[in-house]
Structure formats: structure tokens, C-alpha cells
Symmetry: C2
Subunit: 117 residues, 2 copies
Amino acid sequence: MARAATTADTFNAVAEPRRRLILDVLAGGERPVNDLVRELGLAQPQVSKHLRVLREVGAVEVRERGRQRLYRLNGPALKPIHDWVKNYESLWSERFDQLDVVLEELKQKEEGDVSDE
Amino acid sequence: MARAATTADTFNAVAEPRRRLILDVLAGGERPVNDLVRELGLAQPQVSKHLRVLREVGAVEVRERGRQRLYRLNGPALKPIHDWVKNYESLWSERFDQLDVVLEELKQKEEGDVSDE
DNA sequence: TTGACATATTCCTATATCGGTATATGATTT
DNA sequence: AAATCATATACCGATATAGGAATATGTCAA
């Protein structure tokens, strides 16, 4: 068996940095392919290929306008990634550090409060 | 050129579902390899190989205890993923939907407030 | 209808993966 | 010292990439 297809899920699709860049640009609004080509400095066929992968995992959607194809972001496709990684946020976030402090204080208080000792 | 190495960065390392499972187990605390083998029902060599990838991108760290190797999570290695994907959170979050409502209300109010018309 | 434009697809090659199996390495127990 | 345990590595085969270049498809303009 080989590595999972890039189209297997959003995790795989988005592991490629240039595909993340494409999504970042599309976050600014709908764009025709050539805009992406210009903005990212990639060759046109590669952009089309990346867009195909992103479309297959549902991260983008297309619309036709004359000879152009307008691509737009479909954000919710990225939710599984966010859902997974957000569980680890406490391991680096300042805010959670401070939460730790608060919890520690509560614990101290409680220890002074224990009745049966 | 081929696809980027799984060890190229955390995005690539974590695209493999079993590696995410390993991290999820390690989130519960340090574990020797055989614990992971049992808990995940994978073959021992595959687990060792996945752990190697995770170690190379800094997502886990090892410690020796006799003949065992104790692996532990290194959470902050996942921060780049969180940082990237959190910018898209507004595209599906309920909370942000409600923020939209509030902003809309403010806008209405302001329109009724405009002085020069 | 011919040419220009916008995008998609095809073909090529190099490479890195994944699982499976066998084996190597090193520590511990008997 | 030998057997056992815990883990890592090597080897194999199948497969799916990614970029580059060429070309196909379809639309609009002259």
C-alpha cells in the first residue's frame, strides 16, 4: 500500500503548502484561475491541478463565467482539521497557561477548605 | 518531483490518520510503544515507524526506561496547524454566526444614525 | 472561420510512501 | 550464557504523487 491519496481527505489535500496558499487567497473572495496564477507565481497547469484536488475534497467550489472558472472557498471543509487540532491548543496557549494558574489557586483554596481532616 | 516527505513538516506528518490517533493517545500521557500497539491494534513495526516520523517533526519525544521507550506528546509542534486553520473558523462557527447578527444590528442602527443625508 | 484567450488534461519521470515480514539491537531475567 | 522481552531497522512491492511540457477543450472576438 502507498500513501493515502491527496484527495483522500482535507488533511491530505492541505498538507501541500501551495494548496494552503490557494485557499488563503480565496479567503479574500472568489477568483478566476489566472488571478491565482498571477498572485502565486505558479504555472497555470499546476494551479489547475491543485484546484482539482481542493475541489475533490470539497474545499473549493467552481462557477463558470464565460471562458473563466471562478473558484471560491468552502470553509466548512476545513472544520475537521480545526476540530482535531483545537484539542491541543491548551499545550501552548498563553490563555490556557493563565487558566492553569486560576485552577491552581482554586485547588489551594479548596485544600484549606477540606472539612474532614 | 514527488510529494513532500511525511517528515517535511507537521502538516504532512499528521495527514496520516494513524499518526493522529497515536498523538491522541499520547495526549493522555507518556506511553511505551507496546501500549500504543495494544491500544491501537497496529503491528509493532508500523507503530515504531509512525513514531519515528512524529519524532522527526518534533511532535513527540522519547525517553528510555530499561528496554522500553517512553513516548510523550510535544504539543506546540501542532501550533502551526492550529494557527493556519483558526483563520477559517468564522466560516462555520455558531459563535461567529451570532457575531454576524450583532454586527448587522450595529450596522442597521448606524444607518439610522447617519447625520449627513 | 480564424485566431486569441482561459482553463483542463495528458504524458513523463523521480521519488517517497505504506504495510508486511524478517531480522537486528539492546536490556533483562533465569 | 541463554532465553526472553521491547523496540528499531531493512527489504520488498504497489502506488500516488508533483512539476514540466505539450496539447486538448471550449469560449469569445475580429
